[in-house]
Symmetry: D2
Subunit: 475 residues, 4 copies
């Protein structure tokens, strides 16, 4: 009986681009490239590497057999050693890993995984921003009942609501850009961070050791390096990375939660996949499964944040490996969850439906209440005393609210009642005018949509391919 | 290029017993047994099930093809439907899942996984308690420098220190027993918890529906059931489960951390596996890798605790599936991590070494300081004035502490200095007597060891097989 | 300019009963009682305590001057010493704290605070259960649209929904009872847990030292004591306590969240305080402020859970004080938050309003969809072919769903359409009959309410005073 | 009996500068300044404000009576209303809060508290960096046994170890600078974020409303504003802030933990306050209370991070107040904890002592092991066969390690043994030379110290006052 267990986030939610970064095969590939880059750098800086050796490694570097490596590890009880042996046996040489300690390999390669995964997240965030922007522009002017405390408060527009959640992502995106632009690699610093091992390899020539690190950074494509580190880079950097993912997921999560609320009011739904049909027995039941998943994936991210926080500030001396098992779980899984979240969100953005008639009905249920101040001013203009107007409106408003709750009326007829009340002299036409004006009374909402879309457009221009990304089919 | 990613906790740390509970295959098996149990119960309570149908299901129930099921899910976009179809196609019948909704299946089967995993954890905790007890009994009387603030404070015994961490686990074990004895299943409650679907199946006979649930509980072997639930059971139950794991892991984690500290003082080491040899270049370097792993796995558990907390108290109405993805990750992974933690701990308990000579050296470095009060009383008995004795002892103690720090002396010679000081009249023999008494001055420490061992013995008697469990080889 | 900052949870949310347990004055009182109990115990077991000394302490024990104690601490830099000096100076004696270390005082007194606070939480949970039970009984039979995925799914009753959240609390209450019944005190174990200091005080008589601890436990009223501990009791006990609070708060939190959802649908509101009036301009705006607060307080509890988890499993050797500052914050604040949460919930339970007419309207909007299977069976009985009936019903159901969303109709007229369709032969009377039956179709919901109420009644009988508790006025 | 409870973080750990920002009085002051700024802005943009009104407010703005405001709140059940009334009554006018909703006040003022608190944290981080840099420069060349897995690994320098922890803070400092430079205010956006209320006040002139917001931002001194928000600003911004504090605290926390480890080896101590004297009975017992407190405060910060994470991504529609109670607790307390952490750290940096002789002893215990490779090369140079040399060295090294653990020898005499072994031809002088070279063999450690100090110097130049800050007396 097989009891192998796949990584559920990878299998069910993440895309192959993100999986490739974190799969065992993918990591072995990154490591081999890295080892070869180090070897080339050493050669170029004077270390003897016989002819053909580098070519031999390059030739076999794509022959990745994870099971064989695992077999070796069960013998050596040392994962890096196992991978060195495998690669060397394949190449028929033993020139790898000179002057390196395990962490010279693993820290940097894991950081490379993190760094490339951040780039992948950035790409997908661009696509999400583009998607929100497109939807917000389409619905820029659709009046919508804004709710606070889950109760009608004022008029906004649907586009503005979308832009609001988009803006949260936009701010987080700016921070992601800062993180990417400043992300520091640990570098080739040896067993305790003094760079002794490479310096020794270069017979005490610290400049060459430093130059080698510089070249390796270029190979990695990372923007900076730590100066003084121990065996490991500070784990608060991982905390920053995972916190950044949590922050990036917050706008999407609030959007998803709000769409679930809107679905409960039948204002909108997350839609169905093309070809998917709702149940005929339950034609009203368009479950917000994808939005719920987005919220669930956010909870998962927060759990990995707790793991990252559990490691930060817990370094003993120059470091140890109590973080090892945590990072094996937390780093891939946080990125796989984030990837699934963004992919799901892109699908929702593509498929979501707005039921404008219901949106209008909702607004007409609350608008009369929202208009009472305006009505009072109109009534006064039309000749009523301020006190009287206030009194009359209050009396009817409270009664209508009560009647709606007791089922005495089904629709908000406050304005008709006010027209009928002879203490005021307002006409049906007056009221219709007020309603029309009221619906449009969303302040700067449309302008905010425009500003949001302009910001996104600038980003989309910088990353045109990413902005055009279309999600695959989700489960 | 393959980018499949295994569950790293399952692959590297957990044992096959725990993996079997959480593997996709394992779950399919549990589900099929459950479906068959429901079908039998329904038949026995009067629902028509043609002859041969149950046998047909039973015949194929072990033909588990996860890939085929996954293929179906990609079409139906419904995981339960996919698994029903697969099982029915294999059996050539469609009698499964009558009057059931998805959650009637998944909630109960997932709870069964949790429940059995709790039993597995209990077994392994018994083995750990037995291991600690064995080690504590062996070292019951070895005097050890107890430290507070990481600084020598009083004398204890090594056995007592072990019993102290064991006792933390013992208390958590009592709570685990309560959890196991009271763990409530959701039961066959239908789509929103009213049991409507089964009642309908039984033509309105609520008693039969209730009786069916009762039988299914017996099949599951779980001790209780919820009365009023929604679509799902309350997620605070998951919180309790994961909190229980965190609590159980705390004594082990403190033990592991303290062993890492002791290794830093060379008082002890976690040992090597049989046949494993330390580096000749670094013969002192016995890295506490396993203890570090235990601490890391505890950090992981706390992350899953954050996920469980993120779900608790977040039910909307009768429930939805925003918890789904979280529980797919958190429940298996928390148990896999716990399993790995306990397995690693068992290995450490088997292999750990104590360096008694170094333990003795440490004690002799601090014991003179710890004895100053006793020395003063002796000096007074021997005729010195109280004031004088206090003054003399203080003077020398402070000087010795200073001399040790400045390297003027390498060993604590306070007692010799006091013998030499003529203001007191204490002899070397007096001092040796005090030292011997001082070493034994661990209060009730040995008695506490005995009490701890007695408690563990009672548990071991209840679970004799579990107490004898020997860990497999760890990575 | 004053910059003193009050504890916001104490000041704004907690009740005076809970504040009294955690205030600096309250703690000083508990400590003094404890010291006196130790002194009496020591005297009774043979330690010389001059006549009048205990009386002198007892006479001044209520003269608590926190500022004076703080002043002393700023000099001594030792909080316990400062409190000993204050008490001794007041009494004019120095017989306190004999053979005790700081932790012999603080661990036990802090545990006493925790233990009494747990009793206080238990009391208030009883009141909450009684409140939910009362409300559930009142609404036992009111048909309500049960929602999953926030979308109508089946019929339940309002009472059942309340009982469902109550049941979550009921299960957590059982676990609280276990915790209270097994909560172990650290006891008088001395500086490193060996009980050496008291044994020394009793001239090596370990039995007397043990007997003293036994008496002190009786003074504390706590059910058990640890056997082998270090300087501190294991911090996983704090984790269990805070986890228990989180678990207890989960049912209430889900209830509050669902009431916020229901308020958004105008099905119910959390109500207003007596005398409080809604805004006349916004008569529909009954904000769920109290329910939101309940959800907020639950988030706070989860933060303290993270702190508790941060301490568990982090003991070095026999312990140190890295937990000190955390426990000063976490323990009081977790209980103050819990107290505020329960007090707020009691207020909501008293004041919440159900708008039955709107509940009915909601049901009538969805019931026709929920009845389609029944309608089909009726149609077949009335002579229609199964295929035809299915086809006809599906056709109309999908169209009605569409018409509702496009605003073509405002109410669900599916049943009328089916009556009008000549392919079926169902009458209006048939349909009315089905609707009435459908509304009542909540399965065992009423019976589940009864079972829940019976469980609560048993608890209320055990704690009659607690069950009658009425909340004070909340902010 | 008084049961008032102070904020323990404020009272015991934070400095008055930070307390002033978060005290109720402090907040009232900030609010009043803000209201006056809005009023001035409105007046300047054309809203009628009678002469003398602003002066009247300004005259009384420092008359802050928190108790009186609280009294009002208990009546109105509305905290903002209570504060408006108090201020207006004091001034004798009612011109405050025009066109504003509560959140137009509270969001911005709370953000101002956060922003100023971030500036305060920045200042103190500069002081900490300066302190670490000073210490690192002093100890730049002191050879120290670097440890990985808490076991000796290679040589580093003490200065490098300090710089390593400093560098972690340095990286986090860069991110703090980014946060400060980009921190966006919510602005004057009205009840649902459309800015409707101010636009209405300005009779529909959106430009004026926008200009008012611009002026208020300048009053606040904050660098940016959100464009599209709801009633509240996105709570992921709070998450970013608290995550930033956690990240900033990580280097200090690892430093504190390592100093606790070093104290356990008597390599260093956190020192005593001037005038404070160690116990004469326990002259070796210099407890790392302050370092333990730093670690404890970090755990606290991580708890507030969990609270912040609990709010992020949980916005319903345009927002509600379920975050209110959480932010009342989390925001002040996170900053108070951070302030206490940094103040404690500054004290430790001032008072810490290094025991160089013990540092040297430790190194001499391990250096021979660390030198085995070099010894082998020397032996070969001196004529021994490679195989023989390897064999001989291994034999002795393993034996010495064993002898140290069994107490057969107390000091590492490996090099003497090798000199005595005739299979090699190394002399005592050879060995002394190797030892001297070995001690200095810390690779680039000193250069890394220099680079770290240079980075800090550049920051100190930018914030010269902050760099000179001296901590107050801590408890």
């Amino acid at each position: 009986m097989s009891d192998s267990i796949p990584n559920v986030l990878a299998e069910r939610y993440a895309t192959s681009a993100m999986r490739a970064l974190w799969s065992p095969e993918g990591k072995v590939r990154l490591e081999r490239d890295y080892w070869i880059a180090v070897l080339k750098g050493q050669r170029d800086l004077g270390i003897t590497v016989p002819d053909g050796v580098i070519k031999a490694y390059e030739k076999v570097k794509d022959q990745v057999n994870v099971a064989s490596i695992m077999e070796r590890e069960r013998v050596t009880r040392h994962d890096v050693k196992a991978r060195i042996e495998e690669f060397c046996d394949l190449a028929g040489h033993e020139h790898l890993h000179k002057g390196m300690t395990s962490r010279d390999l693993t820290e940097n390669v894991e950081q490379l995984q993190v760094f490339r995964a951040l780039l992948e997240v950035r790409s997908k965030c661009v696509a999400v921003l583009a998607g929100i922007s497109r939807r917000a522009a389409q619905t820029r002017d659709i009046p919508l009942t804004a709710r606070t405390h889950n109760v009608a408060a004022q008029v906004t527009t649907l586009g503005k609501r979308l832009a609001m959640f988009g803006e949260e992502l936009l701010v987080a995106f700016g921070d992601l850009q800062h993180l990417i632009a400043s992300y520091p690699a640990r570098g080739l610093k040896g067993a305790v961070g003094t760079r002794l091992d490479q310096i020794t390899l270069f017979n005490g020539d610290a400049k060459k050791a430093s130059e080698l690190e510089h070249r390796i950074l270029q190979h990695l494509g990372m923007p900076a390096a730590f100066n003084a580190v121990g065996q490991v880079y500070p784990r608060s950097l991982d905390l920053q990375v995972v916190a950044s993912l949590c922050q990036l997921a917050s706008g999407p999560s609030s959007f998803a939660r709000t769409l679930r609320l809107m679905a409960g009011q039948e204002l909108a739904s997350e839609g169905f996949a093309k070809g998917q049909v709702g149940s005929s027995a339950m034609p009203h039941k368009m479950n917000s499964r994808s939005c719920e998943r987005i919220n669930g994936l956010h909870v998962i991210l927060k759990g990995y944040l707790a793991m990252a926080a559990g490691l930060a500030g817990d370094q003993w001396n120059e470091g140890d490996v109590s973080c090892s098992v945590v990072r094996r779980v937390m780093l891939p899984d946080a990125f796989l969850a984030m990837d699934g979240l963004l992919e799901t969100l892109l699908t929702v953005l593509n498929q979501m439906e707005v039921f404008e008639a219901v949106v209008e009905q909702e607004l007409m249920r609350y608008l009369p209440f929202l208009l009472t101040t305006t009505v009072m001013m109109e009534a006064v203009k039309a000749g009523a005393g301020r006190e009287t107007a206030h009194e009359v409106i209050k009396e009817h408003a409270v009664q209508v609210a009560k009647d709606l709750r007791t089922g005495t009326v089904r629709e908000n007829d406050l304005l008709s009642r006010l027209v009928l009340d002879e203490r005021l002299t307002l006409t049906t036409e007056d009221m219709q005018r007020l309603v029309e004006a009221g619906k449009a009374n969303a302040g700067d909402a449309p302008q905010q949509v425009d500003a949001f879309c302009a910001s996104v457009a600038a980003i989309a221009k910088e990353y045109p391919q990413a902005a055009k990304y279309e999600p695959g089919v989700i489960l």
